[in-house]
Subunit: 660 residues, 2 copies
């Protein structure tokens, strides 16, 4: 280690953070000042990383789950020498366009392994990363995949329910390379943590099979001891770091007042005096900066050694590893999809789209070894597992299927971690209605642009007897409203396969498939290479002159087809449009959209869901045959009849429009 005292290294973090927050007049100084000592020990002695190659695949992952403490991370990135963060960036903290955003943003600044801020997400992402590490190590060997995942989490992260789902899964899976540093400062925003919680945090982790350690979070020797101990374990490790929030602020340290506001010039001046840091704002004396840069350079050696090991892999293994980590798909998968599509059009199965999804997975999973499935304890209902797809088990990570348990939120956030780590393309299932449980994780996937695929079955009142608690109504609208999320609702087995191909082929964001419980006939008449679902919507029946257009999605396309027959008997020509994806349809030219949908006044939509949002495509909500409110418990046929989502109702509304 360097001759520069630890206190100087840590104080560099403290004052970069406090001064940047002060300059921005916005931010959270308390956490960076409180965790400066822990972070200094971690980044100078333990964490394996290389600022010159921030995305080097075998680096240790560091996740700042308490993302509001972003200046801790930016200080570390600057001090250790990441090119992305210079002093100007530090001085531009929280300004529009700066890399130093209010919370660390993945893809926006090198060194942010994930976007954090919504509490608990980072911790759960880290569990996914640690699991992905073990999975890719199982596949490619520990010579090339052998790293740890470190997390800094605060009390807020641990109060969120998602933390329990993540902790429980990490303990169950025995993720021994996961080390969580808990910022045990006993302060939350409202005041003392004791205002809202009496939990024995270590006991809680122990109950989920973790090892727990503790240290004085301001004593570098003690931090070092704990981190050393944490390096070897057969379980994940929690280190309770006893800290003082805002450490060094003379009158405010140890209080909630340091949490989320600038300290003020006087308090910062007092901290300078108290901590012996006479330097001007944003000035880090050369010996201190130099010591930090030396620490930052440590990882370069490890990276070069790793590159040598990589080079010694057989050529095809090496190519596969590089391809998989880059997120590129293996050659040949698209041909397999086309062959399967041809077979579907020949056999014309009448199956639920959840079953069609499983059939699609039977094609894709053998082609794309990175695909890793799972379900929140609904495997047999979501049909997310295929033959030969082995379970991932505690201590045995060679499989390709994860039993997430009844933990939708944890699943969504672990999937984000799997995708962030790389080498793995996650998909996971639950009922569509329970997308609500994992919605914060879906949003993060969309914001980060991660390839995560949600298999959401039982997608309407069509699930029947389970009733309104299980019947999605507002979910399609609420998911379509999320930017950068592709929401698919395929109408038959062919569309389901096409939508799966689009979801897997997409590398810049998440996709979801809303799938039926009930059987649906194959509608596609003729084989063609073109993925019609890629246009978002297309005419299924009734090319040529039309009196009215029936727009439907998923299971209701079949109802629209029947309505078309009824209308034909009345002498009216209807075109039926299947619209598996609003997002992709919006990306088409205005000419294509108009050609598909026909005159606006003569469009009718049918979807067994809330009409909310459908005015984008039809004139007003009287042109939508959908759900007026929540569903009910009963057999499927009775429900469709009861809520008036029938061919007769569609034909009636369409007739009025055609003749209006």
């Amino acid at each position: 280690m360097s001759a520069v005292p630890h206190a100087d290294l840590a104080n560099a973090i403290r004052f970069l953070s406090a001064d940047a927050v002060q300059k921005a007049k916005s931010g959270h100084p308390g956490m960076p000042m409180g965790m400066a000592d822990v972070a200094t020990v971690l980044f100078t002695r333990f964490l394996t990383f290389d600022p010159a190659a921030p995305r080097w695949p075998d680096r240790d992952r560091f996740v700042l789950s308490a993302g509001h403490g972003s200046m801790l991370l930016y200080s570390l990135l600057y001090l250790t020498g990441y090119a992305d963060i210079d002093l100007d960036q530090i001085k531009s903290f929280r300004q529009l366009g700066a890399r130093t955003a209010g919370h660390p943003e993945y893809g926006h600044v090198a060194g942010a392994e994930t976007t954090t801020g919504p509490l608990g997400q980072g911790l759960a992402n880290a569990v996914g990363m640690a699991l992905a590490e073990r999975m890719t190590a199982a596949r490619f060997g520990e010579a090339v995949v052998n790293h740890r995942t470190y997390v800094i989490a605060g009390d807020g992260c641990l109060m969120e329910g998602i933390s329990q789902e993540a902790i429980s899964l990490a303990g169950h899976m025995k993720l021994e390379r996961l080390i969580v540093l808990w910022d045990d400062n006993r302060i939350c925003i409202d005041g003392d943590v004791g205002l809202a919680s009496s939990d024995d945090v270590p006991a809680r982790f122990q109950a989920s099979g973790w090892r727990t350690l503790a240290c004085d979070g301001h004593d570098p020797q003690d931090i070092t001891r704990a981190l050393t101990e944490a390096q070897t374990s057969d379980r994940p490790t929690l280190i309770a770091c006893r800290t003082i929030i805002g450490k060094g602020a003379p009158t405010l340290q140890g209080t909630a007042k340091t949490h989320g506001s600038p300290l003020g010039d006087a308090e910062i001046a007092g901290a300078r005096a108290a901590l012996g840091w006479p330097h001007a704002p944003f000035e880090v004396p050369e010996p201190i900066l130099s010591a930090w840069r030396t620490a930052g350079a440590r990882g370069g050696v490890a990276r070069v050694a790793w590159e040598d090991r990589l080079a010694s892999l057989p050529g095809d293994e090496r190519a596969t590893l590089i391809r998989a980590l880059a997120g590129d798909l293996p050659a040949g998968w698209e041909d397999a999809v086309l062959a399967a599509k041809r077979a579907l059009i020949e056999t014309r199965p009448k199956v639920a789209s959840r079953k069609a999804s499983q059939m699609a997975l039977e094609v894709l999973v053998p082609q794309i070894p990175e695909l890793v499935g799972g379900s929140a304890d609904l495997t047999g209902s979501n049909l997310t597992q295929v033959k030969g797809q082995a379970d991932i088990l505690p201590g045995s990570y060679g499989g390709h299927y994860i039993h997430y348990g009844v933990r939708e939120h944890g699943m969504g956030s672990l999937m984000n971690g799997l995708a962030l780590h790389g080498g793995v393309i996650p998909y996971g299932g639950t009922f569509l209605v329970f997308a609500d449980y994992m919605r914060p994780a879906i949003r993060m996937a969309a914001l980060m642009g991660l390839r995560a695929i949600y298999v959401l079955t039982h997608d309407s009142i069509g699930l029947g007897e389970d009733g309104p608690t299980h019947q999605p109504v507002e979910h399609l609208a609420s998911l379509r409203a999320i930017p950068n999320l592709w929401t698919f609702r395929p109408a038959d087995a062919v569309e389901t396969l096409e939508c799966w191909a689009l979801a897997v082929g997409r590398s810049d964001g998440p996709s979801l498939l809303a799938l039926s419980r009930q059987d649906l006939p194959t509608l596609r008449e003729a084989y063609g290479e073109e993925n019609l679902s890629a246009k978002g919507a297309y005419v299924v029946a009734g090319e040529g002159p039309r009196d009215v257009t029936l727009i439907a999605t998923g299971s209701e396309v079949t109802i629209a087809m029947a309505a078309r027959e009824l209308l034909a008997a009345d002498g009216l020509a209807a075109a039926v449009v299947s619209m598996p994806s609003w997002e992709l349809f919006e990306a088409q030219s205005a000419e294509y959209r108009e050609a598909v949908l026909g005159p606006r006044a003569r469009r009718v939509a049918v979807e067994a869901a809330s009409a909310f949002g459908w005015e984008r495509w039809v004139e007003d909500k009287t042109a939508v045959v959908g759900m007026p409110g929540f569903g009910a418990s009963g057999p499927i046929g009775d429900l469709y009849e009861h809520f008036g989502i029938t061919a007769e109702a569609v034909a009636r509304v369409a007739k009025a429009r055609a003749e209006g």
Copy 2:
């Protein structure tokens, strides 16, 4: 106790359940069969309830958190003599219109204390109920409020993260009258619980300050012992009931196959033989039914005694208790609101609507003692606490404010429990973006029609530097899509007060207020008694002939007002419409709506959020000035400029419309 053997009592539950599921060809027999013994002991010896007066306020609450086991509840209701459930209802299980819905539905069948099905919700509701019991007892005395809350929860409930939030809060608050019976059957849907979890469940509860007991869930003596022990404690109690799922099914018991499908005729016949139950389906021999009815009649004595105690209360206290439990508001609150409105219009404060919300609470809280506030650790940001509103503390329940901790989901679900219990009207705060974290609870409030009020501040990019993780974009749309939820976004202090009055005055469903972080001028010009927000939208400026209509909500009404000035300078007359609530506006007459909005082609909307859904009010999304995608970190002014949500942009779009 009766001379009828326990086994007969329990087997009556088992076969009513198995046969009803079989007849419905749908449902979950495993849990009712597994928990029949525990439920029999609870309902015949411990639970205080009166089938003749299902809503008797001082009854014990029973929550079937594992709601898929609904036939357990329906069997108990039938056997103990609830008028709502006769044999025909049992035979109509899961049929459209039957009270015996797939999952128990509050308000649909007497005896369902809450709607359950989405796992974990019931447990968290129960924590809210147990807290409400202590709070109303603190207010009215234990002579009239003195009951327990029992929960049956399965492994699924406990795997959901929300359970941790609820467990943690219950332990913290020392809710000693809460008793959770854990159906410890070691089976989940995918198979053995061990497939997805290795948690030491009792240790986990202990870490949150619970007492834990265990019993053999098929031994009535042992169950009795545990429940007896649970009656006295200074902490909430978990009883781990070791059970066999589908107990009695000869080849399937103890397996996931009994969980969610009918057992089949042969298996049920085998169970009849194994358990010695020769009776036909739906036949409960008279002595057994009679013994059950006798057990059901136990509570009548307690109820009468309670009525005597109630009668001996001083008249005004009695009237207040009855009023509060009925959910009626005390006289006078509306006058206080009007006086405050008058004062606002006189003083015209320029305050953030979150601050205006606090000002509204300063009026309402003293008027309505049932109002109980709280925040998910953002009290100082949400401004949800007012002067003199004391905290509710462990063991001390006389206050009116709950520090929920960073537990939005738990907060939402506890609020539902508070509302369900009665005597309490809950409101709770977090940032609008974190509505996602509690969305499943909001949905349940809407489905059940509960008066819960969400105070959701920092409602747009207007929050500034915290960036895209904290800036809601799709949230207004996704919340407006939920049936029976009133989404308010008031434009100034007057509207905020009006919206608060509407939310408090509503007794058949939840409301939310989306509130700004930034200051907003008072727009309302003149005092009037009428609550203009009650119409959902109204003309703020520009009555008379107009060239164009600018529709806005919340903070953007001010931008629309500025755009109106710009347009006027160009010789164009614009009306500005404030639309605090889509739901209430939709409830107005078509004439009113047309008069307010003007010609469709000449409307422009401005809202710092996704345009999703706005086509309901304007011609197409090019007429919406809003957010194109996720936000960014930066000062508020820079963000509004960057995303083009400015008076100039609105005027530009409006000019094109007005001249188009």
